[in-house]
């Protein structure tokens, strides 16, 4: 950007004055002798000449831009959007504040905290995250068999919720009771069957069973014995006792051998 200096041409116009009158000259506000003096300065000054040319061509370029046609539905859309605003609410915020509605007061109170958060959430880069979250949630709902139409049909009145809840509770308890009754019936049937079997069973078979049990008992006892023995062999105390026993035997054997030699010598 060139800024004009303080050159003064023979007509008496300074560059600073030229700059301030440039818009007037181009917009046709300047006329007569003043305009002539202006043009003369533009032709003579090396700073202001190009400035004038550029400003003039810039203006011509801008004026060459034709008026664009607004979309056909613009007025309709504007009217549709503004019709959604309640006319009574049009000068809205001041009116709401004066009414002092609890919602407005709460919003006003929470604004310092909520506004930065909401502004942050409104960023376009988070829009995709939100879209993905919505997509996955809706996918999960679909997989779970929950339709949005079902939600729409849900009655959210408090009375409807309480009746719905009591209905669910009664249905569930009824189902549990029925299940319990069924199981009890099955067990009863099984125990009856066992009793019937017991009653119908022959006494010979029962004796055989008893004998088999008695036979099994000593087997069990004998099978325990070697286990305890083997355990004894591996215990340290028993090993020492055995060693001591061996030594005594050897000594006794030695004594008996010596006595035998002595007896032989004596004899």
């Amino acid at each position: 950007m060139q800024y004009p200096g303080q050159n003064e041409d023979p007509n008496g116009m300074k560059c600073a004055e030229f700059d301030s009158r440039l818009a007037d000259a181009l917009d046709g506000i300047m006329a007569g002798k003043e305009l002539e003096s202006f043009r003369a300065h533009a032709a003579a000054c090396t700073d202001c000449g190009p400035l004038f040319t550029h400003a003039q061509s810039g203006m011509n370029l801008l004026k060459s831009l034709a008026e664009v046609e607004p979309p056909a539905n613009l007025v309709h859309n504007v009217l549709a959007k503004t019709s959604m605003i309640d006319p009574a609410m049009a000068p809205s915020l001041a009116a709401v504040r004066s009414q002092g509605s609890w919602l407005a007061l709460a919003r006003e109170w929470a604004a310092p905290v909520l506004d930065p958060v909401l502004n942050f959430m409104a960023q376009p880069r988070l829009a995709m995250t939100a879209a993905m979250a919505f997509f996955s949630i809706s996918l999960i709902f679909n997989l779970a068999g929950l339709r949005m139409s079902d939600l729409r049909n849900l009655d959210l009145r408090p009375s409807a919720i309480t009746t719905g809840a009591s209905l669910r509770y009664n249905q569930t308890t009824a189902r549990v009771v029925k299940y319990y009754e069924n199981i009890r019936f099955v067990y009863e049937l099984e125990s009856r069957m066992k009793e019937l079997k017991k009653d119908s069973g022959t006494p010979g078979e029962q004796d055989n069973n008893k004998n088999q049990k008695q036979q099994q008992r000593p087997d069990n006892n004998t099978s325990q014995k070697p286990e305890t023995n083997t355990n004894e062999n591996y215990s340290l105390e028993k090993a020492q006792e055995a060693m001591a026993g061996l030594k005594v035997e050897k000594i006794i054997e030695g004594q008996t051998a010596g006595q035998l030699v002595q007896d032989r010598r004596l004899s």
């Binding site: 007037d24 008026e67 664009v68 613009l74 503004t82 000068p91």
Partner: protein
């Protein structure tokens, strides 16, 4: 932009009817201003979709705050322009990063087969006359307009496209008239330089 006393009286009665709940009065307001608001939004953003959304947003804002409009303080059109401008500045701040990624040699949106700015200027004079501007030239100028800072952009849009006078622009932008003139000068100069620089680069 300068309204006669009769026109301002008509606007005042329209607003009064609208505030009284007359839907047809509101429709009349929408019909008489939608074209202008849409054009300002489109030239500022360079996107038809954004312009449509922003126009709707401007009208919603006007509808909500219509009660606060004071006829004594200025023309209704200037008030509407201020609303539009404020919304555009908000939008500009929000979409700053998108704007930074724009390229002057990029193809205009929705015109994949159209020549780029460089292609176009190669065939054109650096300062084409207003009367011979083709559709392509307009697209290129629109792209260059997007490169201007929002202050310069809004000033030249209101002056050269909406034909508002300095006083009304100063009232709409809430800056002194001298600042408005300076911004208009700089905006026009910058735009011409942007286009001629690209033309030189291409050649």
């Amino acid at each position: 932009m300068a309204l006669t006393a009769e026109e301002s009286q008509l606007t005042a009665s329209l607003i009064k009817r609208c505030l009284g709940g007359d839907a047809s009065a509101w429709e009349e307001i929408v019909r008489s201003h939608n074209r202008r608001i849409y054009n300002i939004c489109y030239r500022f953003t360079g996107s038809q979709d954004d312009a449509e959304d922003l126009t709707q947003e401007v009208f919603i804002r006007i509808y909500r705050t219509l009660k606060s409009y004071d006829l004594e303080r200025g023309a209704f059109a200037t008030w509407v322009t201020t609303m539009t401008r404020n919304l555009l500045v908000d939008h500009f701040r929000k979409s700053k990063q998108d704007r930074m990624t724009d390229s002057i040699d990029a193809t205009p949106p929705g015109e994949e087969d159209a020549p780029t700015l460089g292609d176009h200027i190669r065939d054109e004079k650096p300062t084409p006359d207003a009367s011979v501007a083709t559709k392509e030239t307009q697209a290129m100028v629109q792209q260059a307009l997007q490169k201007l800072s929002p202050e310069l952009r809004e000033a030249v849009i209101l002056r050269d496209l909406q034909d508002m006078d300095y006083k009304d622009i100063a009232a709409a932008l809430r800056v002194p008239e001298g600042t408005v003139k300076s911004r208009i000068n700089r905006g026009r100069t910058e735009l011409a330089r942007l286009l001629s620089r690209t033309y030189r680069q291409v050649n």
